[in-house]
């Protein structure tokens, strides 16, 4: 059904006419009028005094190549689970590329066919659809729904904005995964490094020689433990440490996450939102209210990852009707 706050696109003509109208923002009705969701909150917000790590993903630039997914897998020692487990929806990738396809049907048909029928028809993509690629990883929410529900406090919030995952503490109740609206958390269903079912596909974790491929800065998670994107915390810590050794603050662009590093079109930008001169801060300032949006803004989990609305080339203000494919 209507989920415009998941992914957004618009046309160049509209953007040129008024850039502040290309993105549909969620507003909550309050006694004081329509407010942004982050104004309607019972939670006390975190104070970020030093760094506040964030990311911007430009849906314009993402071509869906998947390099970020593989870069993340290599950097973070993510297990390969094999075809059967992937069919069972148990892949371990911390990142995924969601694809949203266009359809022949349009909102205009609500009047004629009714909402339910039109939405059902919209679930079938066109024969020659247009696609939006959306890389999705842990959004590092400031009001994380996963953090409140872990019974043993295995997932917590860092003083720099990251949602941390403490593997050693996790007992594997999976409530955090159920409560994540973005479904970015992954559970170690089996022991992928010692259960012989996976020796064929994950062989590098079984032998001493194979294990030399793994990143020594990142642990290999045990069976029964939850894992997710850590925003390459090992790289953040390394960058901070190197800078500290040289008695300075980390420079913008020194710390780069594996996904940002792998992306051929530089669609993913990682940086310190507390540093006003960082590329990320400049980008967010420029696109605020224009192309910058958060996925599922209305549930007010306040992600640290901002997406930029995709703008399509075209002179029309609305999307053209599909020609016969």
């Amino acid at each position: 059904m209507d989920r415009h706050e998941v992914v957004q696109e618009n046309t160049l003509a509209k953007y040129q006419k008024n850039p502040k109208e290309v993105t549909e923002y969620e507003l909550i009705a309050t006694p004081d009028g329509l407010e942004k969701p982050n104004k309607v909150s019972l939670w006390q917000d975190y104070q970020y005094n030093d760094h506040h790590w964030g990311m911007a993903i430009d849906l314009n630039s993402c071509i869906g190549c998947g390099s970020c997914v593989i870069g993340c897998q290599t950097e973070n020692n993510i297990a390969v689970v094999g075809k059967q487990q992937v069919i069972n929806r148990r892949e371990m990738h911390w990142m995924r590329i969601d694809r949203y396809y266009s359809s022949n049907h349009h909102e205009d048909e609500f009047e004629k066919n009714g909402k339910l029928k039109t939405y059902a028809e919209m679930e079938d993509p066109s024969d020659n659809p247009q696609v939006i690629f959306q890389p999705m990883m842990c959004q590092h929410c400031n009001h994380a729904p996963c953090e409140t529900v872990c019974p043993v406090l295995a997932t917590t919030h860092s003083s720099e904005g990251l949602n941390q995952m403490t593997y050693n503490r996790c007992v594997g109740t999976r409530y955090c995964a159920n409560n994540c609206p973005y479904k970015v958390r992954r559970f170690n269903w089996f022991s992928y490094y010692s259960n012989e079912k996976f020796e064929d596909v994950n062989g590098h974790m079984f032998t001493d020689l194979g294990r030399m491929v793994l990143n020594p800065d990142v642990t290999v998670r045990a069976r029964g433990v939850m894992e997710k994107c850590s925003m390459c915390v090992q790289r953040i810590q390394l960058g901070k440490l190197e800078a500290k050794k040289q008695k300075r603050r980390p420079k913008d662009g020194e710390i780069v996450t594996a996904c940002a590093q792998s992306c051929p079109t530089e669609a993913i930008l990682f940086g310190d939102m507390r540093d006003p001169s960082s590329r990320l801060s400049q980008l967010l300032r420029r696109e605020d209210g224009e192309r910058a949006f958060h996925v599922l803004d209305s549930i007010n989990v306040q992600p640290n990852i901002t997406y930029l609305t995709k703008i399509r080339n075209g002179s029309a203000e609305f999307f053209p009707a599909e020609e016969n494919a």
């Binding site: 729904p145 409530y175 159920n178 609206p181 170690n188 599922l296």
Partner: protein
């Protein structure tokens, strides 16, 4: 003779004396196991074996042995957990709430119902432990001081509240059940012939002598424990419902869950009590104690709570529309028309339509129909929890994560295995413990002063303690012993 009230059905039929009560109930404990019990225990032990195998597979290889995936993190495990905890609630209601409401009809069913609660909570407790990825670290949930700067558990988490709620519920129920059993263990101890029996029941009855002081304490403790247990009937399942209500998942995030779940728990609990009691009363020949009136009353409670559940279903639908939250609306459209529509249809027919049949007198006084109804309700309530958990999880906010769930053999094995565990425990209880609270049933029998209540009547067990030749001077035949006595007349 037993005094029978002219205005209501007797709670114990058949003109039973106190001795009859003792005989009828102790006979089942003292007699050798009959073939039907052996057969039932055999089947239960086989299912228990299935349980052990499934648990071994889960613990050795991992939660991957179940049908769960990245989208649906809970399915049969938590469905079964909530199902079993719900079933347990009827026993506590019968023991505690009906005691506080002075409903004398609870006396013949409360012990078996409380036993059912304890065994159901044992079965339920299997699941929070087994569903963990690393159950050997389950002690992490306990707030114990430690050397890690005292690393505490997360008190914001409903799963932690569950730990406290279920452990409190189990402890209190066990204590309540046990204190009620002490006088009856003493009765069996006094009648025991064999050495092992005498020793065991002596230990179990803890030196009970039946003195007035003991009885006085018994009554007081029962009232106190009833007072402690009554809030648990409401709070435990409220906390279990918070596992879902405090999340952000559409279809889970509703404030109606606490009362809805509590009503559903009592509903399914009474269905299970009916199932068990209908079998027990026939097999153990206890039809005079668990009468048709009892069945009808339990049916009525089942119907009331079933109706509350039905109203909750309608309210959820209404609020999904009224809220205009697209995710919540989709969650309900998906439940009714999506790939799990058959589970939703089962839930609706079993839980909404069937309890309404109890309005008909013919249904609620019929053994066969009640039995069928109770099984249907239990199945329906299982589907309700399945629908709530799986249909809400499998299609939530981002369509890219939508997935399907199907159970594996180990999922089914663990569930069927806990049914085996439950029936094994219940059959052992029925054999070695008196299934009806003899003391409380005797307390609700009424006798006239003339025909003494002890060993007289048709089934003479021993010498008469009161003589017929000299009746008490102020007695009138047919007047119950509890009638007010005019002492002034004596001095005339």
């Amino acid at each position: 003779m037993q005094h029978v009230s002219p205005v209501r059905e007797p709670l114990v039929t058949g003109g039973k004396t106190y001795h009859d009560v003792t005989q009828d109930i102790c006979y089942q404990v003292e007699a050798a196991p009959n073939i039907r019990w052996m057969g039932a225990l055999g089947v239960s032990l086989i299912l228990l074996g299935v349980f052990f195998y499934s648990v071994y597979r889960t613990l050795w290889y991992g939660i991957g042995e179940w049908g769960l995936n990245k989208t649906i993190g809970w399915a049969w495990d938590i469905t079964n957990f909530v199902w079993w905890v719900g079933i347990g609630h009827a026993g506590t209601l019968i023991s505690a709430v009906l005691l506080l409401f002075r409903q004398k009809w609870r006396s013949s069913i409360n012990r078996a119902a409380e036993a059912m609660t304890i065994f159901a909570v044992i079965c339920a407790a299997m699941f929070p432990v087994l569903h963990m990825g690393r159950p050997w670290l389950a002690f992490y949930v306990f707030p114990l001081q430690n050397t890690l700067g005292s690393l505490w558990a997360n008190f914001n988490s409903p799963l932690l509240w569950d730990v406290f709620a279920i452990s409190t519920y189990f402890t209190v129920s066990l204590v309540f059940w046990y204190t009620g059993l002490v006088p009856d263990f003493a009765t069996i101890r006094d009648r025991a012939k064999g050495k092992i029996a005498k020793f065991s029941y002596s230990m179990l009855s803890m030196g009970w002598t039946g003195s007035a002081k003991h009885w006085s304490r018994y009554e007081t403790v029962s009232l106190i424990l009833a007072g402690v247990s009554t809030p648990l009937v409401l709070s435990v399942h409220t906390i279990v419902s918070m596992d879902f209500a405090t999340s952000v998942v559409p279809g889970w995030h509703t404030t109606i869950f606490p009362p809805y779940f509590v009503a559903g728990a009592i509903f399914s609990g009474f269905a299970m009590v009916l199932t068990l009691m209908l079998i027990t009363r026939v097999v153990f020949k206890l039809e005079d104690y668990i009468t048709l009136e009892h069945i009808a009353l339990m049916n009525k409670i089942m119907m009331v709570t079933g109706s509350i559940v039905g109203v909750a279903y309608i309210t959820e639908f209404f609020i999904a529309w009224y809220s205009q939250v697209e995710y919540e609306q989709y969650a309900f459209i998906n439940r009714a028309t999506g790939p799990y529509w058959w589970a939703y249809a089962s839930m609706m027919t079993c839980n909404v339509i069937t309890p309404q049949l109890v309005w008909f007198r013919r249904v609620r006084y019929s053994i066969v129909l009640t039995f069928i109804l109770s099984i249907i309700v239990n199945i329906g309530m299982w589907f309700e929890r399945f629908v709530i958990i799986v249909t809400s999880l499998h299609r939530d906010y981002l369509p890219s994560s939508w997935a399907m769930f199907s159970p594996t053999r180990i999922d089914v094995g663990v569930y069927v295995g806990t049914i085996g565990l439950f029936f094994t425990l219940f059959l052992l209880f029925a054999k070695f413990f008196p299934v009806i609270n003899m003391a409380e049933v005797k307390a609700i029998l009424k006798y006239t002063v003339n025909d003494g209540p002890t060993y007289g009547g048709a089934n003479e067990g021993g010498g008469r303690l009161t003589s017929h030749t000299s009746p008490a001077p102020y007695a009138t035949p047919g007047v119950p012993a509890s009638a007010p006595v005019n002492y002034d007349k004596q001095n005339d």
